[in-house]
Structure formats: C-alpha cells, structure tokens
Subunit: 538 residues, 2 copies
C-alpha cells in the first residue's frame, strides 16, 4: 500500500537523443564557425531517421516464457511493440546515440515488461532465471556507460524490466526524516511527492529529469548538490531487492550499525547484476527556505581547486560546489545557454550554492565568503543564478553538436586531492594524444563538481570533429583516458558507474581476489547469471 | 617501509579485568551501601586468583605446523607461554570477566603468533588454512561481544594472531588529509604518531586506551566524538587485507566512487571472518585548536532526545553529543569519578562538545546554543570538563562493582528517531522483567551517544545483584533484551559488533538470502573456514 503515487504524466524522452527534443538548442553561427575553425568540423553528423524506419531483429523470446510472464504480470504489461523495444535499447552515451543515428538496433530487447509490484518483479526473475532469459533493469535509460546493453548470448532472449509502475511513496517518517520510495519514480516525480509534504531528497544529478530512484541507487549517482546533501548512496538507509533466489531486505533498521558488513553497500552500485532493487528508504531533508547560488572566479584552476579543498576540509561546506578550468570557463559550459557568448570573464569560474534555513545559509555563507575572498573574486550572483537556471541543459547541447558533425562526450573520475593535478594532466594528455593521432585535435574542458575532505571528482568534456567511424574514434580515446586514470591512481568512475564500458578497467581496479569475491555473491544470488549479464562484473 | 613506528612501551592490560588495575577505583561507602539497599547485593563477587594459578589445557597445535609458523614469522614471534595464552583468551565483556574470575580458561588459544608484516600474515593464513588451524585476530582484546572466542572444533588447533608488531605509520598525505596506519597500533599510539605531525583521527571510543586500528575497522567502532568526526567506518578510505586465498587491496583510490559495490564495506565489520586487515587508510583531521565541552540539562529524556535530534538534523552538529536519561543522570554515570556524589543536579544531563578552530567552534557553538537554550538549561562548563577528564574510567568501575558482588553490563542498539521511545521502553522492560523474574531487580540506565540525521544509538547500563551463576543470569536478561531490540525495529548492535553473543539475532536481522550471500563471500575468501569460526557469520 502506497501513501501516494506519482500522478504527473510519464513522457518518454527522445528515442534518439537526450530528453525532450524541444529543448535541443539551435547552435549560434559563432559556435558553428568555431567548430569549423578550431576543430576542423567540415560536414554535418549523421542524423537519426524517423523511428518508424528502424528495423529490429525479430523478438526471439520463446512463446511459453512470454505466456508465463503475461500470467504473472498481466498481458497489458508485457510489450513487444517495436517502439517500446526501440525505446529500451541502450542508454544515452555518445556511442549509444551514434549507434542510434547509424540505425544499429541489434541490441534491442526481445520484450519489455512492466511489473507493478515487488512480488511481480520476484516472479519475473524466477521465470527468467528458470528459462535463461537475460534481464536488464531499465529505469530512466540514462546510463552513459553501456549499463543497459546486456550480453544476449548464451541466453534464450533478453527482456527489459521497466519499473515505471513502481511509482509509489511507500512510507514517510517525518520525525526521522526518512522516506521509502519505489524505484520507478523519476527525479521530478519523487521530488513532487516529497515536496508536497515539505521534504526533498536534495539529489539533483544532471540526468534528474529522466533518471529513476532505482537507477540512482544501482549506479551510486551523485547530484549537483552533493557537497551539501551527500551522494545518493549516502542517503540510502534501507533497500528492498528482488533476486532470482528470493527477497533481500537490507538495512532499514538504522542509519548505521555495527551488525557486520554493510550489505546495503553491496547492492548499491551493483547495476542490476545482483538483484532488482524495488524500493529504497532514504534520508530526506526539509525543503530549504532559501537557495543562493553565486559565481566566484579564480586566477587558475589550481587556486580554484585549493579553495574547494579548503571548504571541503574545514567543515563550512556549501550545498553546491563546482569549479571549471580555464577552457571550460572560456567556453561558458557552466552556463550552456550562453555557450560562446561574450563576457565569460576569464579565469576559472566556480559556482558556490547554499540551501537551508535563512539563518543557516547566512551563517555558513559568511564563514565561507571570507575564505573565498582570500583566494578569489566574487560573488557574481548572475553567474550563480544562470548556472541554476540552465543546470539540466548540457546534454541537449550534445544533440545539436552531434548534428553539426562534432564528436562530444564526457568522462569522469575521482581521486585524492594530492593526486588530482597529475591525474588532470595525464587524462587530458591521453585524450589529446589519442585524438591528435587520429587527426582530430580536440578541445578538452574540465571541472570539479563533487568534493570530499580527502579528494574530489574531475569531469572532462571532450569535443572534436567526427571521423567516419566516430564510435571507434571515441573508443580509442576513451581507452587511453581510462588507462591514464588508473595509472594516475584514480578510480575509473566517480558517478557514471561501470556498465559495459568501464568493466575491463574496473577489473584492474579491483584486483583478482575482490573480483572472485564479487563473483561468488553473483553466483549465490543469480545462479543462472541472467541479471544484466556482461555488465559490471568482470 | 614505515614513515615511523610506535615507540611508546606496550603495556598489557589486566588479564582479569579492564585496562590498568591501578585505575580501578575504591567504591565509596555510599555506593556499597546503595548496592545493598537498592539491589540487594549481599556478598562480594568471586575475585580472580593470581595469573600463576590459572590452569590451561595443553596446547594441541601439531608440532609441524608450529615449525612452519616459526619459519614464516620467526621463533621469537611464535609464543606458547601460558601467560601469553591467558592474555589472549576472550575479551572484556562481563561474562568474559566472570569466566576469568571462575578460572575458566578452556577457550585459551593454543599459540600466539606475532607477525611483523603483511606478507607474514598472508603466510600464516596460508599455513593455517592448509592445516585447518582456526585463527582469531586479537588486537586490543577489548571485544565485549565474544568476538575473540572462535569455535575450536573441528579444527586442529587455534592460534591468536596478535598484530602488535604491525605498528607503523605507512603513509601520510597532508594535502588530502589521509594517513595509512598498520592495524596493530593502539588508539594512543596512533594518535601519538599523527599528533606529532599535527593530525588526529578524532576517533575516541571508550576502549581507546587498548583497542587497535584493526579492531576499530573490523568491528565498525564508533567513538565519543562521532557526531563531529564520524564513525570509524566513515573514516576508512582504503584497506589492505590478507586472506587465505591472497591479498585484497580495496579502495585507496578515492574517498568515494561509483565503481561497483563498495567492497570496503564488506570488510569493515567482518570481525576477522573474511580476512585479516593489515593496514587502513583513513581520513584524518588537523588537531583541533580548541576543545570546549559543556553540560546542558533537560527536564526529561524525551526533551533531551528532541534537542539532540534537532542538532543532528539541522547541520549544526557538535563534535561530541550525548544525553543521559534521568536514572543515569541521577547516578552521575556520565562522570564516573563522581558516582553517587551529591549535586548530580536532576533532570537529564547532556554533554555537548565542540572541537575545531576557535572561529569554527565559536560559530557552530553560537547557533547550537540558541537551540539548546530553547529546550534546556546551561551551559554547565564543569559538567563538560569532568566528563572529558573521566571519559575512559567507566570500565574500571565495573571491575570494582564485580568485586563488590554486583552484576554490571552494558548493551547498545540503534534505530530511527521515531522508533526510539518505544525501543527504549521495550528494552528496559525486557531487562527489568527478566531480572525481576530471576529475583534480582535491576537498576537500568541509558544514554544516547551517537546521533545521525535519521536516528541514534541507545546505550544501556544494567546493574543488579549477582546470582550464583551470573553468566547464565546475564545470558537470560541479554537474550530478552536482544529479542526486544529486534521486535522494536532496532539493530542488534550500534558499535559493539556481533561476535558470538549477537550472532543468532544478527541472522534474524539479516534474513536468509543475505546470510547466504555473506556465506558465499566467506567460502570464497576462506575456503577452509579457519578465520574466526563461530563469530559473526551464522
């Protein structure tokens, strides 16, 4: 029984790009000209045709299995329409979008199922496990690491398990500030259910408009306000999980305990390979009275990073904290609506945001302002407000740039503060070397957007001209960057997850004994190996 | 290669009580009289004899295994002297001490080994795994949940692995504020190594004087300053672990990442059952400039709990935060040196402490003071200072009370704020009912000492007259309390760990699917099952 369910209409994002196609900007002449001059973009990229022109392989799911699923979940919730299969093919990485543009739908699932309860998920997994059908949990579909493209062999078929009907607020403990949410809720749906009761998760990743609660948990998502509210995995106090061998109900008795290993942390980040999360209990916060976002400007990225480190270490942490390097500041990517506009202002632009009670924002803000004034210049209220207004527009810009013939992609990593300068140089260098060697000198932008007392993330955006095979072009550059990340002591991913794209590096990061331990858990919970095969687990 | 090693002398704690016997207080007449009047204590408890009078079972370790261990670790570091075996028998729970007082040393290990490097630990585990010798990692020996008493059957012997020679500061990253410490370092040794370089872990559990870095990690220790510095598991960024199947090196690339499940959280709390931690990389903090501890007084425990919850939820969290209930306040247990003294002051005494830069302490303190003034009375600087001065004295008092014929023990749990009042009533009631039924009406004290936004711990101290078989007397009371904890929605332990004493309730808390997942990891990493058998894993 849910306290309430999401009521806003569930609009599908673009099947061939990011989000709502109406938000894809028209690129200004200056940008098009810059693409030509600076990157050598000389011809437009391949554009997607109409969805009706997509050719799919025939659904190969055995008819008896389909009947069993229909019996368990309802005929209306077992779907093999081409459009549904297309919309559940892969995620939203640039290689994913390039494959869509190339009409490559070989990875389409055979069937889409929409379970309406934890029990129905359990039942679906039992059937799929018994009949060796691979299962990909497919929430918002916003993976950018190949997390939604399971291996289809040696299975008898692949189903996409879409949790959109699991859209309830199951519980709200206002005293403890804990809410239990079903996993199919998208970011805005969850915020609407909580907001009308005076609460927020505080979790606003760039994928917020489409990503789901289940996806946040399964991939260890990190939001733009992570400095203040914490990462999504920090917020989770309990998980309900369906596995082929039964239910796992983990935590949910306390925020923290000393009762053995914290098994919540085994499911968080498991990317659908150990079970399907059906509900999450979360630390929530009262809706902030006040929100203030400001720009601050530093002479160099190193000085900006120092300022962020000081704030992260001294306990006066803002709610939002990010800092762009010189190139990103110059291109104004922190404010995508103004990309290429005059007046970017030079130096390195940081966004510092405060959310909370008026008193709290004032008090924390004053302490931090003294520190920011010592190292940088500001505040620039307009820069902060424009960042907040345009914070979800970045990915739409990519669609326009792909149309224009540019190859644009992002990658991210995290390590300790002392290692960040060398990691920054090594990753930038590896990307540059690889793309220059391929004849497409890139522009490389970087920012810090998630900070900890001991370290921080680095988020890179890369742009260059598309070669004839842009998927292979990026594969090479990305492999070089990934090698550089591990060699520089970083983790292969701070918040995008492992998926299929990072799996080989993840294996190196973990080491052989840890890989075997993880495989042992997988074998126990998913003996037939049907859960998102080929993803995450080496 | 270590940057530095601990140099202070390694004094063994009392073999038959807590810590340094010189610190056991003489009980004032008022207390002795109170024990008689209020609890019906009518005869002194059994006292331990001299260590030389202890009779141990013969060491049953096969001679060839001993030789192999001597070859691997050095003859001088493989010890079977009776005194060493006695000192490595069990931990420091009240049942443990009662068994010592009864001369029960059947659980003594056959051999004590003192490896001097990670490699030597690996080698020892390889040998023990091959020859089916159970291994108990024995650090400070301060377990209060039976975590140091492995099952000896069906093994060919039991060795205690004492890490005291693993006492190095292996690395210090001052920029990132991360230190790598070997696990044999005791609390004061670690603080001394870090303190001379300007840093602290901020981790001060009541067992601080004897407990080790490895024990903190293996049991998810939580210190008295957890509100400010976090729990020990929050501080860990990397772990080096020796297992019978090889080395695990987990994390150490970043404070947080999205690279799959957080496997550090599988080792933290594993209590020596999945591997032996040999080094830990930790978030450290600069030594605080200022430390201020104050008493605040509330009319009721409910009001005090409300005040703590507000501070925990609104972001103005002090460094130390605890609140005693009416009974504990009346008995002055927050200030053990003054137990029973006049002027306890009534109501519920909270200790609120601030550590940090002078500016930070002032700023955070001012915001919190306004809130504390709204709900309670204070500050009482003297109450705060006396708490700080006497913070490690509590366990010594137990030795004196056991001598006097009282049965004294503590237990603790954690749950969400909304459930705490009912849990408090249920656990107190269960303890009271069980002990009254046994003819020994108890005094039950409680405090909150670890807070989170969504919940808090409750720590109970129970005192009554000893029956003839006080171990069985406590077993019954504790079982009733443990049942009540689970029924009220709490976790079986907030910071003491699971050990042997909580294992049955841990199994119920986890549920069958999670138990199987944990066993699968155990089987993978410890195929012969020699690591602390009978502890933690159901």
């Amino acid at each position: 029984m849910a306290l309430a369910r999401a009521t806003d209409p569930y609009s599908d994002p673009s099947w061939s790009g990011w989000g709502d196609p109406a938000n894809v900007p028209e690129l200004p002449e200056e940008v098009l000209s810059l693409l030509g001059h600076a990157l050598g973009v000389s011809r437009p990229g391949r554009r997607p045709g109409p969805i009706s022109a997509v050719t799919l392989p025939a659904s190969r799911l055995p008819a008896p299995v389909r009947t069993m699923l229909e019996t368990a979940i309802g005929v209306a919730n077992v779907v093999d329409r081409d459009e549904a299969r297309v919309r559940h093919t892969r995620g939203k990485s640039t290689p994913d979008l390039l494959r869509v543009r190339a009409g490559d739908f070989g990875a389409a699932p055979d069937l889409v199922v929409l379970p309406g309860s934890h029990q129905q998920v359990l039942e679906a997994l039992r059937i799929c496990s018994q009949h060796r059908i691979a299962v990909v949990p497919f929430g918002g579909g916003t993976s950018v690491v190949g997390g939604l493209q399971p291996r289809s062999e040696p299975f008898a078929g692949v189903i996409a398990l879409d949790p959109r009907r699991l859209n309830g607020l199951l519980g709200l403990d206002e005293v403890s500030q804990v809410a239990t949410l079903e996993v199919g809720l998208r970011g805005p749906q969850a915020e609407s259910l909580l907001g009308s009761r005076g609460f927020t998760t505080g979790h606003y990743p760039q994928s917020f408009e489409y990503a789901t609660i289940g996806g946040y948990a399964a991939t260890r998502s990190s939001g733009q306000a992570s400095a203040g509210y914490g990462r999504f995995d920090d917020l989770v106090v309990g998980l309900r999980v369906a596995t082929p061998v039964g239910e796992l109900s983990i935590g949910g008795r306390a925020p923290k305990s000393a009762a053995g290993p914290d098994l919540r942390q085994l499911i968080l980040g498991s990317e659908g390979t150990l079970g399907v999360i059906t509900a999450v209990s979360l630390q929530i916060r009262p809706l902030p009275e006040t929100r203030v976002y400001e720009g601050w400007r530093f002479d160099s990225f190193a000085t900006g990073a120092s300022a962020l480190r000081t704030l992260a270490q001294d306990g006066r942490r803002p709610t939002v904290l990010r800092c762009s390097d010189e190139a990103e500041t110059a291109l104004n990517l922190a404010r995508p609506a103004e990309i290429g506009a005059e007046g970017a202002g030079g130096g390195c632009l940081a966004i510092v945001g405060w959310e909370g009670s008026a008193e709290d924002v004032d008090m924390r803000g004053r302490g931090a302002t003294r520190m920011l004034e010592a190292l940088g210049r500001g505040p620039e209220p307009e820069a902060g407000e424009s960042w907040a207004r345009d914070r979800y527009r970045g990915p739409y810009l990519r669609d326009a740039l792909l149309d224009a013939g540019a190859l644009v992609e992002t990658l991210e990593t995290v390590t300790f503060w002392s290692l960040l300068p060398a990691l920054y140089a090594a990753v930038s260098g590896a990307l540059r070397d690889s793309l220059i060697a391929q004849g497409t000198p890139p522009v490389i932008l970087c920012h810090i957007s998630h900070v900890y007392a001991s370290g921080a993330s680095r988020y890179f955006t890369v742009g260059c001209a598309q070669l004839k095979d842009p998927v292979e072009q990026w594969r090479r550059a990305k492999a070089a960057a990934s090698d550089a990340i591990l060699a520089a002591g970083g983790s292969i991913t701070h918040h995008h997850g492992v998926g299929r794209d990072h799996r080989d590096w993840y294996e190196r990061e973990l080491g052989p004994t840890a890989v075997e331990a993880l495989r042992a858990v997988k074998t126990e919970l998913d003996p037939a190996g049907v859960l998102n095969p080929g993803i995450l687990i080496p």
